[in-house]
C-alpha cells in the first residue's frame, strides 16, 4: 500500500497530465458550445505543457546559470519549448474565438447543433 502511494506520488505529474489530457479531449467531444469546445482544447494543450515541463524540473536544481556553488541545474530546454507552445496555444485560442464571434454574427448562435440545423434547412 505504501509502495503504491509512493509510486503514485512519484508519477503524480503524469497523472495530472493524463487527467488534463483526457478531460480536455472529453470537453471537445462532448460539448456543443463552440466556446466551451475551445476551452476544452486549451485544457488539452495545457496537459502538453505539463508533460514537457514536469520531468525537466529537478528537485533542488537551480536555474541554469553557471556558478561554482551549484552543481545541479534544471534543464532549460523544455521550458523554452513550452514558452513557444504557449504562444502557439494563445494564437490558436484567439483565432478560434475570433471565428466564433464571426460565426455568432453569421448564424446567431454558437451551438454547433443549432448551426447544423440551420444548414440542413436550406
Amino acid at each position: 500500500m505504501r509502495d503504491a502511494i509512493l509510486r503514485f506520488a512519484e508519477h503524480y505529474n503524469y497523472v495530472v497530465t493524463i487527467f488534463l489530457m483526457v478531460a480536455g479531449l472529453f470537453i471537445v467531444i462532448a460539448r456543443g458550445n463552440m466556446i466551451k469546445k475551445l476551452i476544452g482544447l486549451s485544457v488539452f494543450q495545457t496537459s502538453v505543457y505539463l508533460l514537457y515541463v514536469g520531468p525537466s524540473k529537478i528537485i533542488g536544481g537551480t536555474a541554469p546559470i553557471l556558478d561554482p556553488a551549484f552543481k545541479v541545474y534544471t534543464n532549460p530546454l523544455p521550458h523554452v519549448l513550452i514558452l513557444t507552445a504557449i504562444v502557439v496555444g494563445v494564437a490558436v485560442l484567439s483565432l478560434g474565438l475570433a471565428l466564433v464571434v464571426r460565426i455568432k454574427e453569421a448564424y446567431g448562435t454558437i451551438e454547433e447543433d443549432e448551426i447544423f440545423a440551420q444548414e440542413t434547412d436550406e
Binding site: V28, L41, V48
Partner: protein, 497 residues
C-alpha cells in the same frame, strides 16, 4: 554568391516569412499580389538550387545560428525533402498568376492584403515543415501553416466557410497536439529533439522498443493522419476545401496534405525505422485497411457528390489513400509509387481545382447541375478538367498511371494480388465520377447562364495549362518524377533498417 548559396536553406523559409510582413504593409490587393508574386517566384528558384546541390553533393545540413545539432536547430535537405520543397514551391508559384482575378472576384478588397499575407505564412510554414530536422521546430511550422490555413478558409464567401474553418481549427489543433505529445514522449525517452539524433538513439540496441516509444509513434501517426486526412479522420477536409476561396482550395489540395504525408514518411522511415514502424507496430496492416477504405468509400462518396469542389475533395481523400497505401507497402516500388503520387496528385488536383476556380469565376457556381453544356463554352477550361480527370483515373500517358503502375508493382512484389485489383477497380470508380462531369459538361444543352461564359483570361488559363502539361509530361518522361522518387525511396528504406 557562395555565401548566399550556403544560406539557401534558411532563405527558403525566411523569405516568405519576411514577405508576409511586407505584404501586410501593402495597401490594396493589387500591390499585395505583386509583392506576393515576387516572393513566391523566388521560392522555386531556391528549392531547385537546393535540389541541384543535393543531387551533386548529397544531403545538406544547415545549422541555425551556427549552433551544432542536436543542441541547435538543424535544417536538413535530403532528396525527399528537396523533392517536396520543389513540389510545394512550384505549385505555390504556378498558382500566383491565377490568383489575381480569382481572389479579386471572391474576396473583398480590403481583405485581399490579409489573404496574401496568410498565403505567404502558410507557404513558409509548409516549407519549414519540410526543411527542418528539429521535431519541435516542425510543430511550430505546422502551427504556423495551420493557423494561416484556418484564416484562408474562413475568408471564403459563404458563411459555411466559417464553420469549416472552425471545425478544421479544432481538428487541426488536436492533431498538432497529438503530434507534440508524441514528440514529448520521444524527448523523454531519448533526450533529443533532432530527428536524426533521435533516430540514431532509437537504433541503439539498448533501446529495445520501450513502451513510451510505441506510444509516441501512435500519437504521432494519429496526429499526422488527422492532418493528412487519412480515413476516417478526414471529415474536416471536404468542408474546408469546398467553402474556401477557389485559390485556397487549389493551393491546399496541392500542398497541405502532401506535406503532412511527407512528415508521416519522415517519421515512419527516418525516425522510427522500418523495424519499429512496420514490425513492432503493424503499421502496414492498419494503413492498408484504412487506405483501401479511403480509396473506395471516399471515391464512392465522390460519385454521389453534386458540388464539384466537394467531389474533388473526396477524390483527394481517395488519392491520399493511394499514397498511404504506397507507404504501407514499405518496399521500394510501393514507396516510390507513394512518393511520386505526391507530386503527380499535387499537379493534377491543383489543375482541377483551378479549372473549378475558373468556372466559379465565370459562372459563380460549381454545382453539377449548373455546369451543363459548359464544355462547349469554356473548352480550354474543361479540357484541363478532362485531362486532369483522366490523370486521376490513371489513364496511361498521364502522370496518374505512373504512380499506379509503381503501386501495383509494389503490391505484386509483396505477393498481394487482391491489392492490385483493388487499385485497378478503385480507378474505375474514378472513371464514373469524372465521366459524370464530362457527360454533363459536354453532352447537355447549355443553360442561359452557361451560354454567356467564355474561357477565363490567359492569366488564369496559363497556370492551369502549365500544370496540365506537366501532368502529361510526367506521364511520359518519368525520369524527373519517378526516378527521383525511386532514389528517395531507396534511401529511406536502405538508410535505417
Amino acid at each position: 554568391m557562395s555565401a548566399l548559396e550556403s544560406q539557401l536553406p534558411i532563405l527558403q523559409v525566411i523569405v516568405p516569412l519576411v514577405g508576409a510582413v511586407l505584404v501586410a504593409l501593402m495597401r490594396g490587393g493589387r500591390s499585395a499580389w505583386a509583392v506576393a508574386l515576387v516572393i513566391t517566384w523566388t521560392m522555386p528558384v531556391i528549392s531547385i538550387l537546393l535540389m541541384r546541390k543535393v543531387l551533386a553533393t548529397g544531403p545538406i545540413s544547415y545549422h541555425l545560428g551556427g549552433w551544432a545539432p542536436p543542441i541547435g536547430i538543424e535544417y536538413r535537405v535530403d532528396l525527399l525533402a528537396a523533392f517536396v520543397l520543389v513540389l510545394v514551391s512550384v505549385v505555390g508559384a504556378a498558382l500566383m498568376p491565377f490568383a489575381r482575378r480569382s481572389v479579386a472576384s471572391e474576396i473583398d478588397g480590403d481583405k485581399q492584403v490579409w489573404f496574401y499575407t496568410m498565403y505567404l505564412l502558410c507557404l513558409a510554414g509548409l516549407l519549414g515543415i519540410t526543411i527542418t530536422a528539429d521535431a519541435f521546430n516542425l510543430f511550430v511550422f505546422l502551427e504556423i501553416s495551420s493557423l494561416a490555413t484556418y484564416v484562408l478558409i474562413a475568408l471564403g464567401r459563404d458563411r459555411r466557410a466559417l464553420l469549416a474553418a472552425y471545425q478544421y481549427l479544432i481538428m487541426g489543433t488536436i492533431g498538432a497536439t497529438f503530434y507534440v505529445i508524441g514528440v514529448g514522449l520521444l524527448y523523454l525517452v531519448t533526450g533529443s529533439l533532432n530527428i536524426y539524433d533521435i533516430a540514431s538513439r532509437l537504433a541503439d540496441p539498448a533501446m529495445q522498443n520501450p513502451r513510451p516509444v510505441m506510444a509516441a509513434l501512435a500519437f504521432i501517426v494519429v496526429g499526422i493522419s488527422l492532418k493528412l486526412a487519412l480515413f476516417p479522420l478526414h471529415v474536416w477536409l471536404p468542408g474546408a476545401y469546398a467553402h474556401a476561396p477557389s485559390f485556397a482550395s487549389a493551393f491546399l489540395a496541392g500542398t497541405a496534405t502532401k506535406v503532412a504525408i511527407y512528415v508521416l514518411i519522415r517519421f515512419a522511415f527516418s525516425v522510427f525505422g522500418v523495424a519499429i514502424s512496420f514490425e513492432t507496430l503493424p503499421l502496414t496492416e492498419v494503413l492498408v485497411v484504412l487506405s483501401l477504405a479511403a480509396m473506395f468509400i471516399a471515391s464512392i462518396i465522390a460519385v454521389f457528390e453534386t458540388n464539384l469542389k466537394r467531389m474533388l475533395a473526396y477524390s483527394s481523400l481517395g488519392q491520399v489513400g493511394y499514397i498511404t497505401l504506397g507507404i504501407a507497402l514499405a518496399n521500394t516500388q510501393g514507396l516510390t509509387g507513394g512518393i511520386v503520387h505526391l507530386l503527380n496528385h499535387a499537379l493534377m488536383k491543383t489543375a482541377l481545382f483551378m479549372a473549378l476556380g475558373a468556372i466559379a469565376y465565370r459562372l459563380g457556381s460549381v454545382k453539377l447541375d449548373a455546369i451543363a453544356g459548359i464544355g462547349r463554352r469554356m473548352p480550354w477550361t474543361m479540357a484541363v478538367f478532362v485531362l486532369g480527370g483522366m490523370a486521376l483515373v490513371g489513364v496511361p500517358g498521364t502522370a496518374g498511371f505512373v504512380s499506379k503502375w509503381y503501386l501495383a508493382i509494389g503490391a505484386v512484389e509483396k505477393g498481394w494480388w487482391p491489392l492490385v485489383f483493388a487499385i485497378l477497380i478503385s480507378s474505375l470508380i474514378a472513371v464514373v465520377y469524372v465521366g459524370r462531369v464530362v457527360e454533363v459538361a459536354w453532352f447537355r444543352e447549355p443553360s442561359p447562364a452557361v451560354e454567356k461564359c467564355t474561357d477565363p483570361p490567359l492569366s488564369m488559363l496559363i497556370p492551369m495549362l502549365v500544370l496540365t502539361a506537366a501532368t502529361i509530361y510526367f506521364g511520359i518522361d518519368t525520369e524527373a518524377s519517378a526516378g527521383m522518387a525511386l532514389k528517395a525511396a531507396e534511401t529511406l528504406l536502405g538508410g535505417l533498417k
